[in-house]
């Protein structure tokens, strides 16, 4: 009898957890807030990469650029810039803007090769 009560209690907890998870993940998920740079849409990321590339073009601080790029993706900085370039090309960024990004990509690739 006591064992049956314990099993019932555990089953009740499992049912309750399931209900809580379904409510929080499906029925009424937390609003879109407190997101991170990593979750930004690709076009926003491309613009971010462009801004980082422009910063790099003015200060030559590759470490700073890497730090900023790693904030928007779990991939390595070179991949982030390459993805940014791809999106930028599709969106018709100007030659100058693409050049800023390409220079950053080149510097990152050379730095990576030197490591």
């Amino acid at each position: 009898m006591r064992k049956n009560r314990l099993v019932g209690f555990i089953i009740a907890i499992v049912v309750g957890i399931s209900a809580g998870l379904i409510y929080g993940w499906v029925i009424n998920p937390a609003g879109v807030r407190n997101t991170s740079l990593k979750s930004l849409r690709n076009d926003y990321k491309a613009d971010y990469v462009l801004m980082v590339a422009e910063c790099y073009a003015s200060d030559g601080d590759l470490a700073g650029a890497v730090e900023r790029l790693e904030a928007i993706s779990t991939s390595d900085a070179v991949s982030v810039v390459q993805q940014g370039l791809l999106t930028a090309q599709q969106m018709g960024y100007s030659n100058l803007e693409l050049m800023y990004m390409a220079e950053l990509e080149k510097a990152l690739t050379m730095s990576k090769a030197g490591d």
Binding site: I17, T35, Y44, S58
Partner: protein
């Protein structure tokens, strides 16, 4: 009695389970969103985003574009947020350039017509190489963005830079004859106006002028780009709150801490003025 106890422990189990489930789904492991917009960023990432916008603003000097980017964050008080972040950076020490950039962007928010002089950039490769450089990663990538692309922020406006003018024959370094403030209310920009003449008092074209900012880049320009004003004339647009160091010629002395002077009109109202520097080659 036993049946009542039985129901109670089941009910307790369900309540505990629901609480655990809600804690996990809403707090510990909330739904992870992708393809979000900047307005949904958490505060620390909003600060990073603002900082990058401000730094890019210094390079592009494109106020509408910077403001469009800033608007993506939908801050209730964009200017206040920028100023507060700049102050926090200054208090925490370091990142002086970022703090200045944020303050400058805050000023641009309050004065959208503001024009700044872009920082100098260093890009070793010619523009013609861009296509090849860009194509390689594009071909390697297998990820194709599927989202509907957002409206682009306004494209960068390229500020024409002075073209290279051959240097005149080097002689004795130019000496600063006079430095004066220019107070003309009708002038829309605060300029550093440089006039260079040779030993005979004749204007000299193509004299290299270097201007630098503490913690900033160095820009180079030349006399002779405004022959309608004077063949030995060159100017540079100053930004409010910035200080500049200037050198005329290869071996000229450094004039330090140039900043926008404050002028007063007839009614006592203050307005930003310009600076005039007269240089001459010694006889």
């Amino acid at each position: 009695m036993n049946e009542k106890r039985g129901s109670l422990h089941l009910l307790t189990g369900v309540v505990i389970g629901v609480l655990i489930g809600l804690l996990v789904s809403l707090v510990l492991l909330p739904v992870q969103y992708i393809d979000t917009e900047p307005r949904t960023l958490k505060e620390s990432d909003r600060a990073s985003y603002r900082e990058v916008i401000a730094r890019a603003f210094l390079v592009e000097a494109d106020t509408p574009r910077a403001l469009a980017r800033l608007a993506l964050l939908q801050d209730a008080n964009p200017s206040g947020a920028l100023v507060e972040q700049a102050q926090t950076l200054l208090v925490s020490g370091g990142k002086d350039l970022e703090a200045r950039a944020l303050a400058l962007l805050a000023a641009a928010v309050n004065q959208p017509s503001m024009v700044i002089t872009p920082l100098a950039v260093v890009l070793p490769s010619p523009i013609q190489n861009v296509t090849n450089t860009v194509t390689a990663p594009a071909l390697q990538s297998t990820n194709t963005p599927t989202e509907t692309l957002a409206t682009r922020t306004p494209a960068v406006t390229i500020t024409p830079r002075p073209t290279y003018t051959p240097q005149p024959t080097q002689g004795a370094p130019y000496e600063l004859l006079e430095q004066s403030n220019v107070c003309e209310p009708e002038m829309k920009q605060s300029l550093i106006q440089v006039y260079v003449v040779d030993a005979a008092g004749k204007p000299v074209e193509g004299v290299k002028i270097e201007i630098s900012q503490p913690n900033g880049g160095v820009e180079t320009f030349f006399t002779g780009l405004y022959p309608e004003i004077n063949p030995g004339y060159a100017d540079y647009t100053m930004t409010q709150g910035m200080t500049y160091n200037l050198r005329v010629g290869e071996a000229g002395g450094l004039v330090q801490n140039l900043s926008i002077p404050v002028c007063e009109d007839d009614e006592g109202n203050e307005y930003p003025g310009s600076i005039r520097l007269d240089y001459q080659q010694p006889k």
